[in-house]
């Protein structure tokens, strides 16, 4: 039964919109782009009406694909303003300078770490942070439940190793 037929879209919105925004902000490094992509992903959900029981991972997979499309477009434009991995967003709330530096530093480090992961690893790791079960992550990244654990563990180990190095350097 499709998510639209059951009228579950409202519930899905309530449950998923904020986690999806957070996931996309982390995935793209850009909160403004995340908001746009999340909206488009929900539009696609309504248009394609996936089965209700897979709608949540479906939404995240489509949003991830949209993020890749957006990154390609941005890459072609190569604008100086808002280019590449954004450090801060246009809509960032004001922060004390020290806090802003701290946040910028963390974003730079994570941008490097996440950029070194494969798209599947990055997607899986950030979906895990949103509380997805391993079988849901597997469905979203297009692998088996058996192998998604290996993918996640490898990604986590790589990310943690890199972040520890960053901590030691600073």
């Amino acid at each position: 039964v499709s998510v639209v037929e059951t009228g579950a879209v409202e519930a899905l919105w309530a449950r998923c919109h904020e986690p999806l925004l957070r996931y996309l902000a982390r995935y793209t490094g850009d909160a403004d782009a995340a908001a746009d992509i999340a909206q488009e992903a929900f539009v696609r959900l309504l248009e394609h009406a996936p089965e209700e029981d897979v709608a949540r991972p479906w939404l995240f997979r489509v949003a991830t694909n949209l993020a890749h499309d957006a990154a390609r477009t941005a890459g072609r434009r190569r604008a100086l303003v808002m280019s590449g991995r954004a450090m801060l967003s246009h809509s960032d709330p004001p922060a004390a300078p020290d806090r802003a530096i701290e946040r910028a530093r963390a974003r730079a480090a994570l941008a490097t770490v996440l950029g070194e992961l494969s798209p599947k690893e990055r997607m899986a790791l950030l979906m895990r942070e949103e509380g997805f079960a391993h079988h849901e992550i597997a469905a979203a990244v297009g692998t088996t439940t058996g192998s998604v654990g290996t993918l996640l563990a490898r990604a986590l180990r790589k990310a943690a190793h890199r972040l520890r190095s960053t901590q030691e350097e600073s």
Binding site: V9, W13, A14, H17, E18, L21, R22, A25, R26, G29, A31, D32, A34, A35, A38, Q39, F42, V43, L45, L46, E47, L80, V81, M87, L88, S89, H90, S91, D92, P93, P94, P97, D98, A100, I101, R103, A104, R105, A106, R107, A108, A109, L110, V113, L125, R128, E129, A133, H134, G149, T150, A153, R154, L156, R157, A160, L163, R164, T166, S170
Partner: protein, 239 residues
């Protein structure tokens, strides 16, 4: 039982098995095995470290509250239609509407986000007002110097320059800065006006050794590395 692999260890962390269930064998093994319990502890540390950095980065901090607050709107009032046959047609259309008038995804989304411009009535529940947010400009300084120019002496406001390693060059503008900034190879020009009260925070990476702030026709202020490290502030309202 053989030692647990990384996937099994992560599964124990993410989906702890019920006591006595099939997966509980792995947990019992980890409890009894030094090597696997060490692996479990290491994986927990890795996961906590990654989550901690994500929290510190707060990528999601810039998401406007309005985007997360669904807005409930009242129904559009029914319009009176003159003429008997027109009224009959209106009834037929109204009956068919639930069947044929499935709202497009974009229309539904516009309503969710409070962007339904066609609604004749005000929203019942307004989304929270967005915070006063700074504009954030990123740029790439060339060489070790950076020039920040303000076209006019402002009514109020200041330029705070902050120096740090591991960051990119970013200019945050809080408040109305007139026509907006122009980014050039060597720095940023702010096309402000004399009535502006905007504030500026310039974050510069460690590779930048010298920042020059020029305000209108005034003498440029040169900030060397020591001044940058100390966190210099220059008044945008003249001296």
């Amino acid at each position: 039982m053989t030692h647990l692999n990384d996937a099994q260890i992560l599964l124990l962390i993410d989906h702890p098995p019920e006591p006595g269930s099939e997966g509980d064998d792995a947990r019992r093994h980890a409890d009894a095995c030094d090597r696997c319990s060490a692996g479990l502890a290491r994986m927990r540390e890795d996961a906590a470290l990654f989550t901690g950095w994500l929290d510190a980065a707060a990528f999601e901090a810039g998401i406007a509250p309005a985007a997360t607050a669904p807005v409930i709107r009242p129904r559009r009032p029914t319009r009176w239609i003159p003429g008997g046959w027109l009224r009959a047609a209106a009834v037929l259309v109204a009956m068919a509407a639930p069947v044929v008038a499935m709202p497009s995804g974009r229309a539904w989304l516009a309503a969710k986000l409070g962007g339904d411009a066609g609604s004749p009535t005000a929203a019942v529940q307004s989304a929270p007002a967005a915070l006063t947010t700074p504009s954030v400009i990123r740029f790439e300084p060339t060489g070790g110097t950076l020039l920040l120019t303000l076209d006019a002496v402002q009514a109020a406001g200041s330029v705070a320059v902050r120096h740090g390693t591991g960051i990119e060059a970013v200019l945050e503008i809080t408040g109305d800065a007139g026509m907006g900034p122009v980014v050039s190879g060597g720095g940023v020009r702010i096309r402000n006006d004399s009535g502006s009260r905007a504030g500026y925070t310039l974050l510069v990476p460690g590779s930048v050794r010298r920042v020059t702030v020029r305000i209108a026709e005034g003498a440029p202020v040169h900030l060397d590395e020591a001044a940058l490290r100390a966190g210099a502030t220059v008044s945008a309202a003249g001296r």
